[in-house]
Structure formats: C-alpha cells, structure tokens
C-alpha cells in the first residue's frame, strides 16, 4: 500500500505502520512523537483532499 501511494505521488511520510504490544506504552508514546514530528516536517496535506466543487 505504502509503495503504491508513494508511486502515485503522495509523500512518503503520509502513511505509517507500526507494531506495538498492549504492554508497550512507552513504545506507543515514542512512535506517536516520531510520527508527529515527521508529519509536521511535511506541508499540510492538499493533494488528495476532496474539496467542494467550484460553482461559477
């Protein structure tokens, strides 16, 4: 999935996968921090957002 989205031009940082056990709350916090930082580094997402159609 990630490969394909990137292939069609979505930036790599927009999709993340991870594997966390229910006992690993510290890992959970780490991953959230890491992902948030990565996503903050990108500009806000515009490309794929569906907007209201323009009415002239």
């Amino acid at each position: 999935m990630k490969n394909m989205l990137e292939h069609t031009g979505i930036e790599p940082g927009r999709l993340h996968f991870s594997w966390i056990s229910s006992a690993e709350s510290t890992k959970f916090v780490d991953v959230v921090k890491k992902i948030t930082e990565e996503v903050k580094a990108l500009d806000p997402h515009k490309k794929f957002v569906k907007t209201e159609p323009k009415v002239d």
């Binding site: 490969n3 394909m4 990137e6 292939h7 069609t8 031009g9 569906k50 159609p53």
Partner: protein
C-alpha cells in the same frame, strides 16, 4: 497466426461432438475491424464462426467464472494464467475446463492503429507478419511488430501455462525485454512529478468502468464503486474520486494481475491504466518473487504468511 483458426475450429468441433464440453468459448469476427467478439459455440455450426487473428485482445478467462457444466476455452498465454488464478480462487474447477492453448505472438493495438490514419479504418487483413489496413481512399501495409500492444511487446509468457491441447507449435519466449521499464521511469521522479504524471494520465477518465468490466479478476457481485453504504468512492468526476477508483482497482488486482492488457484495450479514452497494476506486479515480483498464474499449486503471496515476509515498512 491465422493458420490457428482451422485448428481451433477442428478441435472445437471434435470436443463438442464427443460431448467432452457443453460449449467452447472463443472469438468470432467482430462487426468492426480489429474488434473481435467473444463467442459461446455450442454446436458445430456456431463453431464454424470461430477465428483467430491478432485482434483477439480480450481476455476470455473473464467468461468462465461460476459457470456450470464443462467448458472448452481458447486461451493464449495471459488467458491461461488468468484461468490458473480462477482455479486457485475456486471460481471454476480445473476438471470442468478443456483448454485449447494458443501460443501467441502478440495482439495489435487498435488505439495506435486508429491514431495512424485520418480516415475511418474499414478493413484490416492479416497475412504472416504484415497487416494491410484499408479505408476509403487509403490502403497501407504495416509490420505487426510495430503496432503491438504495449503489454504484448514486453510479454514474457506468450505460451499457455496450462492446456489440454495446443492449436499450434509453442513459440519462443521474448527474453530481452524489460516489462517494468515504464514503472522505473516513474519511480525515478519526485513526489510532485509523480503526482502530476498520474493527474495527467487520469485527466481524461470518464469513469465508464470498462476497465473493470473487461478485467478477468473483477468478479465481485457488488463492486466497491457501486456500494453506497458506506460510499467509499464518490460517483463524480472529481479528480480525487477518479484516483481513488484507479488506486483501489489496482489494489484488488495486487498479486493477481497477469498484465493481459484487457483494461487498456477497452479504455475508450486510451488511458494507460496498466501503469497502476504494473507497479504492484513489480512489487510482488521484488518482494515475494511472485508472478500471478504460473502454477496451480502455489498460493498467492497475499493469502499466505511466511516468516520471511518483508516487514521493514513496520516501525
């Protein structure tokens, strides 16, 4: 290639007379040039209509799913691979099928040929490697290998994978082709370039779903595009909806697509829809060493778990 026609007719009549099959699925001459139609031949008379030339681009495996009784089917390389996929996915039983294998040297691209001429093409004759294309006021010869469909030009599985009988001698497989050349060009682009490339590619899509209907893999009773509760894909021509449709369609074909080119052939707007499935085919080959439809015994990568499955995308 046209010499196959007589052989196909002979086999079809024989298996029908012997009662081995209830019908034979093959091609008959279409009402327009380069547009052969599928034919269900149930008697010797209708089997006489069967033909074979370089316009048999439709994938006949599309017509065998969930059929009752025994069926004879004319299958070129890609059709036979899709039949294997159907057998693996329990859409048809192998012993219901009598496969008439046709070694294939590629099918012609009617989009390309139509673009070569200004007037309407009224007739296409084929003899050996040359095609004579004629319409009102012109008649020209072209070499078949120059007008092959793109997927046929890079095909590496021209001979049927499974068959009960062959309609001709096996042909040599192409060795020096790179099936994924176009994918590699896109891979080299930056994210924005990629986005614009696909935006451009899909800009003419009219959402007719011909690619879905022609695809032998698309047999779901209700397609995701027709679902309305919840509605995953809007029905509009909005670029995001168009792209969602094409992405999801490609995902449904992941690990199953044989690159038969039926989707691209039927697209009325001439969109290169294979660009999506092609990337997933390449990933399947690189990540799992898998090409769809080559063996009846192996399970596809997406329905099995192996301890050495790649997992470096997981944090």
């Amino acid at each position: 290639m046209t010499i196959y026609t007589d052989k196909i007719k002979e086999i079809a009549k024989r298996v029908l007379a012997e009662g081995k099959v209830d019908m034979v699925i093959g091609f008959r001459k279409g009402t327009m040039p380069m547009m052969n139609q599928p034919l269900y031949a149930t008697s010797a008379e209708s089997a006489d209509e069967l033909i074979w030339d370089s316009s048999c681009g439709i994938n006949l495996a599309n017509y065998v799913t969930d059929k009752k009784g025994s069926i004879g089917i004319v299958a070129k390389g890609c059709d036979s691979r899709n039949i294997v996929t159907h057998v693996i996915e329990n859409k048809i039983k192998r012993d219901q099928l009598y496969i008439i294998g046709v070694p294939c040297t590629g099918m012609i691209d009617h989009h390309k040929i139509n673009a070569m001429f200004d007037g309407e093409i009224l007739n296409v004759e084929e003899s050996g490697d040359t095609l004579t294309i004629s319409g009102s006021g012109f008649s020209e010869k072209v070499i078949k290998t120059d007008v092959l469909r793109q997927n046929c030009a890079v095909c590496t599985h021209r001979n049927p994978v499974i068959y009960d009988e062959l309609a001709g001698e096996l042909v040599a497989e192409q060795k020096n082709v790179d099936p994924y050349a176009s994918v590699k060009t896109v891979e080299a682009m930056s994210a924005d370039e990629k986005w614009n490339y696909f935006e451009d590619l899909l800009s003419s899509c009219i959402r007719c779903y011909a690619c879905r209907n022609a695809c032998p893999l698309c047999y779901c009773p209700t397609c995701f595009v027709d679902e309305s509760r919840p509605q995953w894909v809007g029905k509009s021509q909005d670029p995001t909806d168009v792209r969602t449709f094409h992405l999801l369609r490609a995902y449904h074909c992941a690990g199953r697509c044989t690159d038969c080119g039926a989707c691209e052939r039927v697209c009325p707007m001439g969109i290169k829809v294979r660009e999506f499935t092609k990337k997933l085919n390449k990933d399947c080959l690189e990540l799992y060493g898998w090409e769809a439809g080559l063996s009846l015994d192996d399970r596809p990568p997406l329905d099995t778990f192996k301890t050495d499955d790649p997992q470096n995308f997981i944090k």
